[in-house]
Amino acid sequence: MAQIDLTLAPAGKKKSKKRSLWADAWLRLRKNKSAVAGMIMLATILIVIYSSPLYLDYDNDVIKPDLTQTLQFPAEGKLLGTDELGRDVLARILWGGRISIGIGVLAMMLSSIIGCTLGAISGYYGGKTDGIIMRSLDVFMAIPSLLLMITLVSIMKPTITNLIIALAIGSVPSVSRMVRAQVLYIKGQEFVEAIRAQGASDFRIIVMHILPNAISPLISQFVMEIAGLILAISGLSFIGLGVQPPDPEWGAMLSSGREHIRDVWHVTAFPGIALVLTVVALTLVGDGLRDALDPRMKR
């Protein structure tokens, strides 16, 4: 492909003059078939899940047990069957998705805010500041993130807020490191020198010039990290430290169904499928974004 790039180079240059980075990325993303598939999957999942309050009533459809209808196989009316309390598995999957994805996204947002701040400060100022921040993060990195999350959740109470905090803390070190590496790279570029020469403040340089440039290649990482966090939540739920009942959450549903898997497979199978599809969709979109936004890191 090297020679193609060579041949195309002038044409490419021409294009990039005409369009912004984002428009360009969007074009590249649209051309990527698997990314498009991922976007369609993700959009479908999100629309179906987030519109669920329109046709589902939390109290009646999601958490209300019907003890006469426990562990029913999929049938008309209950498309994916019922769980051990006779609740509609489909309704719980839809509502549970809001929780699984919601926690994943919020935790990622929190950790990217913290991670960007730490990473940017660390990368921009370097020296002792960098040393202190990085060594402290090393401490958190030294504990496997799942173990760290388990420890945090079991010390705090497993409320949704605490879950988000624990997941965010678990992923801050790796996010900060990624941001720091990007900031270091961009800091070394000439335009930053140029801006500094114009007398811009450090804060302005970081916020207005470095971070926007640093973030675009990281966006795909963030998207993939959400997938990882959703898996982590399900893992926590599996050992009983995740989302607490009666709220449905995919991992918790899946693990509560495993007792019955020899008799009723659907209680475990369907939440698992929902989880896998969501993670696959996020991965595809993340992959596509990486290729689209960051040709430099393109593999």
Partner: protein, 322 residues
């Protein structure tokens, strides 16, 4: 290189101390009275007082921490509150299964993911490549415990080939190791494939081809060594993942390992056990990271010489900051 290793080992000390401070602080500040844990609820206030005194729980937290670390330094991790056993003995029993599980997974990741990634890169865009890419996408998305449940149903219940529980025989080890490495296979074969494709497009591969080398030599000798670098990083990171993931695998397969011990200890606020578990895990991970870096420098001479010149570089960096 020897000096570098020593330096890295020395750098581990503050990290481990940091880990111990954080966990100790978290545990000390969270609710729950260890004296009650030990004596049971029918203990009298006087007995509780005595026990608190004995455990040093009445001391300020920094003093408690210092006293604890004093013992740890000489290898005494204390006695578990809940099992009354010496923590180091408990870990002695539980560490081997976890190590076998974690490093067994790591090993299978290496022997599966790297050859698979290379094969996929060489046969880029073939039906084999396309199918495997989709399959690996789904494998990477499956929570380990879910695939574990499915495997138990298939291999233990329906086929009766493998035991569904335990970790004491080689056949019992198969499923836990595979389950905790499936995602790793998928992720790392993708990384190997991607970096292989990246490397194959590099100029030096063209140089190697221009030398008239056989394609197999070009791939094995010139491409692979370079392509392994991202894989080494990712596999290195997977060490932590394998340790974390072993918690869930141990719960699912009923393995008497560190992860299960930690969960039990956390549920019962068994501070000595939790502390020892976290400290030992972090040391193992730090050592694994060091080994990863050494493997990296073994493969990449640029990194190797960077270590040699590290001090010099640091000075330069210091100037830059001023």
């Amino acid at each position: 290189m020897g000096r570098y290793i020593l330096k890295r080992l020395a750098q581990m000390i503050p990290i481990v101390i940091g880990v111990s401070i954080i966990v100790f602080l978290l545990l000390s500040l969270s609710p729950g009275d260890p004296a009650k844990m030990i004596l049971g609820l029918n203990a009298k206030e006087q007995e509780l007082q005595m026990m608190r005194e004995q455990l040093g729980l009445n001391d300020p937290i920094p003093v408690q921490y210092f006293n604890y670390m004093k013992k740890v330094v000489v290898g005494d991790f204390g006695t578990s509150y809940s099992t009354k056993q010496s923590v180091i003995e408990m870990i002695g029993v539980r560490l081997p299964p976890t190590l076998i599980l974690a490093f067994g997974s790591l090993f299978t990741i290496l022997i599966v993911a790297i050859p698979l990634g290379i094969a996929l890169a060489v046969k880029q865009n073939s039906p084999f490549d396309n199918i495997m890419r989709v399959v690996s996408l789904f494998f990477a998305a499956m929570p380990g415990f879910w695939s574990g449940i499915l495997m138990i149903i298939l291999f233990s219940v329906h086929l009766g080939w493998l035991p569904a529980n335990g970790f004491d025989t080689p056949s019992a080890m198969i499923m836990p190791i595979i389950c905790s490495s499936i995602a790793g296979w998928a992720v790392n074969s993708r990384i190997t494939r991607a970096s292989m494709l990246d490397v194959i497009r590099q100029d030096y591969i063209r140089t190697a081809r221009a030398k008239g080398l056989k394609e197999s030599i070009v791939i094995r000798k010139h491409a692979l060594k370079n392509a392994l670098l991202p894989t080494i990083t990712s596999v290195g990171m997977a060490v932590g993942g394998c340790f974390g993931g072993s918690v869930i695998m141990e719960m699912l397969f009923g393995i008497n390992g560190m992860g299960k011990m930690m969960i039990d200890a956390l549920r019962q606020k068994d501070i000595p056990t939790i502390m020892a578990g976290v400290i030992i895990t972090s040391v193992i991970i730090a050592v694994a990271n060091l080994l990863t870096d050494l493997a990296y420098s073994f493969v990449d001479p640029r990194i190797r010489s960077m270590y040699a010149r590290r001090k010099q570089r640091k000075e330069v960096a210091g100037h830059g900051a001023n």
